[in-house]
């Protein structure tokens, strides 16, 4: 068979597509990222904050946006759709249709003058129609690629933008293009679409001005939104005092919407309520809900905080309708509380709208030849959650089912791993590595600084007197060359710059233009191509932080620009050439834990050609899955387990260490050494923690006292072994949240509701006449599992709610167990005589997690689950590089979620293992041994524990000093700022460099 094509096409550029692309491109594959819209970023770019950390969505996402946009092995193809596909896994020919942007992607500098001057206004979709944009626009200010686009439908064709665009980027006559691309595998990540709430006409969306969708409200909250973060009523501009969130609009709604639960709405509503209140204290948020589904890691705490700290009011009731007061435009919300209809007036209503399958789902399915499920999401298996029905095509993110950002990101990584699997043998075949000329040695040279001042079209030039700045720059010390450019970032100017660097023998280069955040890498690249060390480059930001913010003070802006240039010149003279240090990578992985996640991770890495050491302390592989007897699916878990185990055992790349415990782990990314009990050592480059979890052993409800009280897992086991006769024991009660959502363990264990539903259905299957009671606090069958909950209800399973004030009381009775419970809705006491009582208990972390954490220097949550690097965007990474996480060790989760996460960990690990060596940014701390007296002040502030105190013999006496672990240091500089003796510094941000800037700023040379 021919070698597969070493390239992957990722369809859809939201957070999922970006993550898949980055993981693939970083592990040696060429990626074509195809996006329907003009820029990547997806729904996440529209969000203000993210739960449960209230992180600013844009802040955490922007670095990924930029990295995707600039990656040499990711080719962004925007405004494009798949037309058709040919071939099979390993070698697909994809035909794309690229729609015209009418602005040249190469020449557009994203300066935005076109949009400023465009006389035609259009509805801004990015802001959910709450404000206007122009007919030439970017989706949002941080768009990648930052290239404007002409909305042909809205454009009246006046031609003004063409005149205004000094880069000459406007191409009115651009036509559609057909592209044909060869790839080995495909990842689908088109995301989701919004439910149209006007279908639920009783809520008045589209008719009542003050009824908004949750996404509209999200934009309202955003600082870049229509009112810059002020929440106002569209009807009259007042800040709404009372805001009602109505949950499940289009979700859990078989009649007019989707039968499934959208999985994220409860949480985002909590977040919106909290943030709204943060923005304006006077706001009184109320959330109308059926079940509050705060099922994720630390979500329950967030829920509690919303109620206790933010004062969010929760009303458990389905809202029957919303009416508008025609005068005040206030809204009357009707709902049932304690059996009575209540009408309550609110100033604004927010509809928590469902996540629908993406609009293009059917077209994609048709054109690419994979199947959809009944909800028009991708049809995938419980044990193959990332595979579509067509080999070679994989799915990540919300297209596989509604989910939140961490789930999406983990899956996206997982899909990348699956996609890489197909083409692993062609790794590095299509990626390019940049070649650079030999670096000029500048160490002996006097500084020769060149300053390039940019007009940025008219963005700088119309405010700042650029020629004057150039003339001024020429007078500064060490400056041997200064000139101006219309657009310094344009291709031709870059070529010119290289020539000048060589002609003028420049050894320091300064560009005075825009922001180094966006443009420094570009200019550094130019320097490298000219043979100059890239760390000898500096920027002065005279646009974003000068001309644009002082547009009406031309003189002052010019003066400020001169100052900024002078400051940078002063720093520049003191810059050092720096080299990225490189560490070789041991191309094998250690996977800790031989459960489902660990085995999936191990075989995933092995399939990609990496050696894996799988360490399992039990005598047998399989972990918790061994206890699971049936699933919410036709798949037999035990049969699957066998397959998985044999796959691991048969793989020659997997070295099994069964019945082994780890004694210690040393080293760092690329080079770990692990010692097993018994002294065996393993060399490996990465670690995947898949230590799993254990079932909680309850103490309440007669557990352990009465043989008829058991946990769900125990029940499954007994049922399978035939120890339970459902014909006899036909009155069964289940109690949810036993040992979770309480003071000791505030969090929800995510899976127990679905497990209870699963077992209830099993009981009903075996004995349809059995009486099954499920006593619950909230039913949290999120996502497609909601369908099973509905099924259980339909089959007669009785769901009875209890709350913390009225927990069930279980007594051994004459007719089995006597359970009494006060029904909070009906306010009556319910008595159940049950033959069996099944307790839904949480998943707990492994008791020795702390030991593993200490060995690996990775943190744990308060619940002792492992704490990932970032709740949202790095769900399978640890802050410690080279160490990854998956499965129950991260938190409770289902089989498919564990597998997806394990695949995710594979993809993340592969980004390290695919490299021969890892580069370490040189802008990190460096110890000045002469100055350091070993006071150790710097050790505590270091967020990465990268500094250790050492002693060595110097001139016959003991010298104390500190040592920096280069691979752990990130260059934040907390050490430098703490050191009283200038004994440690950060390259490129040395104290003398910063002081030189201050001196230059203050004119005290």
């Amino acid at each position: 068979m021919a070698e597969p094509v070493g390239a992957v096409m990722v369809i859809g550029g939201g957070i999922s597509g970006m993550q898949s692309s980055l993981d693939l491109a970083n592990s040696g594959f060429k990626v074509y990222l195809v996006e329907r819209g003009p820029s990547i970023g997806g729904v996440m770019s529209q969000l203000d904050k993210t739960f449960p950390t209230n992180d600013c969505a844009m802040c955490i996402m922007a670095p990924k946006l930029v990295e995707t946009g600039r990656h040499e092995n990711i080719e962004l193809i925007t405004n494009a759709e798949v037309e058709m596909i040919d071939g099979r896994a390993g070698n697909f020919l994809v035909t794309l249709k690229k729609y015209p942007r009418r602005i040249n992607e190469e020449t557009c500098t994203g300066c935005g003058v076109c949009a400023e001057k465009c006389p035609t206004e259009a509805i801004d979709e990015f802001n959910e129609g709450l404000k206007h944009r122009k007919a030439v626009y970017v989706r949002y200010p941080q768009s990648v690629p930052l290239v404007y686009m002409i909305d042909r439908e809205k454009c009246i064709g006046c031609g003004i933008c063409e005149g205004e665009c000094k880069a000459g980027a406007i191409e009115y006559d651009e036509k559609e293009k057909i592209l044909e691309i060869n790839v080995g595998s495909i990842v689908l990540s088109p995301g989701s679409s919004k439910f149209d709430p006007s279908v639920r006409s009783e809520y008045g969306y589209g008719i009542f001005k003050n009824v908004l969708t949750s996404l509209e409200f999200e934009r309202m909250l955003s600082a870049t939104g229509p009112h810059l973060g002020t929440v106002v009523r569209p009807s009259d501009g007042d800040i709404p005092k009372k805001i009602a969130w109505i949950q499940c609009v289009g979700s859990r709604d078989k009649a007019k919407g989707n039968s499934y639960c959208s999985a994220v709405c409860c949480m985002y509503s909590l977040k919106e309520a909290i943030i709204a209140k943060e923005h304006f204290q006077g706001i009184e948020p109320t959330i109308f809900f059926m079940d509050m589904r705060a099922y994720g890691k630390d979500f329950e705490k967030y829920y509690i905080r919303a109620e206790d700290e933010a004062g969010v009011r929760f009303v458990r009731s389905r809202v029957s309708g919303v009416e508008e007061d025609p005068e005040t435009k206030d809204l009357t919300v009707s709902y049932v509380e304690n059996g009575e209809v209540v009408d309550e007036t609110f100033n604004m209503v927010v509809l928590s709208i469902a996540m629908n399958a993406p609009e293009e789902a059917e077209i994609l399915s048709h054109r690419l030849g994979f199947k959809l499920n009944i909800h028009k999401f991708v049809k995938a298996g419980l044990f193959e959650p990332l595979d579509t029905t067509k080999p070679g095509i994989f799915v990540g993110g919300a297209f596989a089912g509604p989910k939140d950002i961490p789930g999406t990101v983990a899956e996206a990584s997982g899909a990348a791993a699956r996609a890489a699997n197909v083409i692993a043998t062609s790794r590095d075949s299509l990626t390019k590595k940049k070649e650079y000329p030999a670096e000029i040695d500048v160490s002996e040279q006097e500084p020769r600084i060149g300053v390039f001042v940019c007009h940025c079209g008219i963005n700088i030039g119309s405010v700042v007197d650029v020629p004057a700045v150039v003339e001024y720059a020429k007078t500064l010390p060490n400056v041997v060359y200064a000139d101006e450019n219309l657009f310094t970032c344009s291709d031709d100017t870059q070529t010119k710059m290289k020539e000048i660097i060589n002609e003028q023998k420049l050894n320091r280069v300064i560009v005075a233009s825009c922001s180094p955040r966006t443009h420094e890498p570009l200019f550094q690249e130019t320097c490298r191509q000219a043979g100059l060390n890239q760390y000898l480059f500096e920027m002065a930001n005279i646009r974003d932080q000068c001309s644009w913010v002082h547009m009406h003070e031309k003189e002052e802006a010019t003066e400020k620009s001169k100052d900024l240039v002078r400051m940078v010149v002063a720093k520049s003279a003191l810059l050092d050439p720096l080299q990225k240090s490189k560490l070789p990578v041991t191309k094998s992985a250690l996977v800790i834990g031989g459960g489902l996640s660990g085995m999936t991770a191990a075989s995933g890495l092995a399939d990609q050609g990496f050696d894996v050491h799988l360490v399992e302390r039990e005598k047998e592989l399989g972990g918790n899955l061994r206890r699971i007897q049936h699933l919410l699916s036709d798949v037999d878990p035990q049969k699957k387990l066998e397959e998985i185990i044999s796959k691991v055992k048969d793989n020659p790349k997997v070295n099994l260490h069964i019945g082994s415990k780890i004694e210690k782990i040393e080293g760092r990314i690329g080079n770990f050494t692990t010692t097993l009990e018994g002294g065996e050592t393993i060399e490996h480059g990465v670690v995947i923690v898949a230590t799993g979890g254990v079932e909680h052993k309850p103490t309440e409800y007669l557990y352990g006292e009465n043989p008829n009280v058991m946990t769900q897992l125990e029940f499954e086991e007994k049922l399978t072994k035939g120890e339970i006769d459902l014909e006899k024991s036909n009155k069964i009660a289940m109690i949810q949240c036993v040992g979770s959502r309480n003071e000791e363990r505030p969090n929800c264990s995510r899976i127990c509701c679905s497990e209870a539903v699963k077992n209830a259905l099993k009981i009903k299957e075996k004995n349809p006449d059995a009486e099954v009671y499920v006593l619950y606090k909230d039913i949290r069958t999120y996502g497609f599992n909601e369908d099973y909950f509905q099924e259980a209800s339909e089959k007669g399973v009785l769901f009875v709610r209890y709350d913390d004030d009225n927990t069930p009381i279980v007594n051994p009775g004459q007719n089995g167990l006597e359970i009494t419970l006060k029904d909070p809705v009906l306010d009556e006491v319910l008595r159940i005589n049950a033959d069996l009582l099944i307790l839904s208990v949480p998943v707990l972390p492994q008791p020795d997690s702390e030991d593993v954490g200490r060995m690996l220097k990775v943190p744990l949550t308060k619940d002792n689950f492992f704490l990932e690097a970032h709740m949202k965007l790095r769900p399978v990474d640890f802050a410690t590089e080279g160490v990854f996480l998956c499965g129950l060790a991260h938190g409770p989760k289902f089989v498919d979620e564990s597998i997806a996460q394990a695949c995710g960990a594979v993809a993340r690990a592969a980004t390290v293992l695919s490299k021969d060596e890892i580069e370490i940014e040189p802008t990190i701390s460096h110890v000045v041994d002469e100055n350091c007296d070993g006071c150790a002040y710097c050790i505590e502030p270091c967020p990465y524990d990268a500094i250790t105190l050492i002693e060595y013999m110097k001139n016959g006496s003991v010298k104390k000093t500190v040592d920096v672990d280069e691979s752990a240091c990130k260059g934040c500089g907390c050490c430098q700022a703490t050191c009283p003796k200038e004994g440690i510094f950060i390259w490129k941000f040395k104290l003398d460099q910063l002081n030189a800037m201050i001196d230059a700023c203050l004119g005290v040379a």
Binding site: C59, S222, N541, D544, A977, L994, L1002
Partner: protein, 138 residues
């Protein structure tokens, strides 16, 4: 500078990940603020040595503004919290140097708070105008 109105000079230390991005956003959004600040980009607010602040103030800067990520958002986990503690120390040092507390300010500015950055600069400029030039100004 002549007798007219005194224009304070503020040295700004902005962390690369949030506040510098926020200042850029002020530009992208064309939010206008007084041209009295000169920004020095640092990777983290935790990188700013107190000596740098004191140096600037004793060499004639009328004010120093330090901006970092909101607590919890720090790119380096907790550099900003360290900066916050350090700011307390700097406040104490100001007294020793005979400088008014208004001359040093620590603010959290996120990448989406262009307007906040502009507001902070304007407030600080106004406050420093009220206060008059730095006693260290020659």
């Amino acid at each position: 500078m002549e007798e007219q109105e005194y224009e304070p000079l503020i040295v700004g230390f902005l962390c690369n990940w949030c506040s510098y991005a926020g200042a850029d956003l002020a530009g992208t959004s064309r939010i206008q603020y007084p041209p009295n600040i000169r920004v020095i980009r640092v990777m983290c607010s935790g990188m700013v040595h107190p000596n740098l602040v004191i140096n600037a103030l004793t060499k004639g800067a009328d004010g120093v503004l330090m901006c970092g990520c909101h607590p919890g958002d720090c790119h380096y986990l907790e550099g900003n919290l360290i900066a916050e503690k350090r700011a307390e120390a700097i406040d104490l040092m100001l007294e020793d140097f005979g400088l008014e507390p208004e001359r040093f300010r620590l603010e959290w500015v996120s990448a989406s708070e262009g307007d906040k950055f502009a507001r902070v600069v304007k407030e600080m400029t106004d406050a420093l105008k009220q206060l008059g030039p730095s006693p260290y100004k020659t």
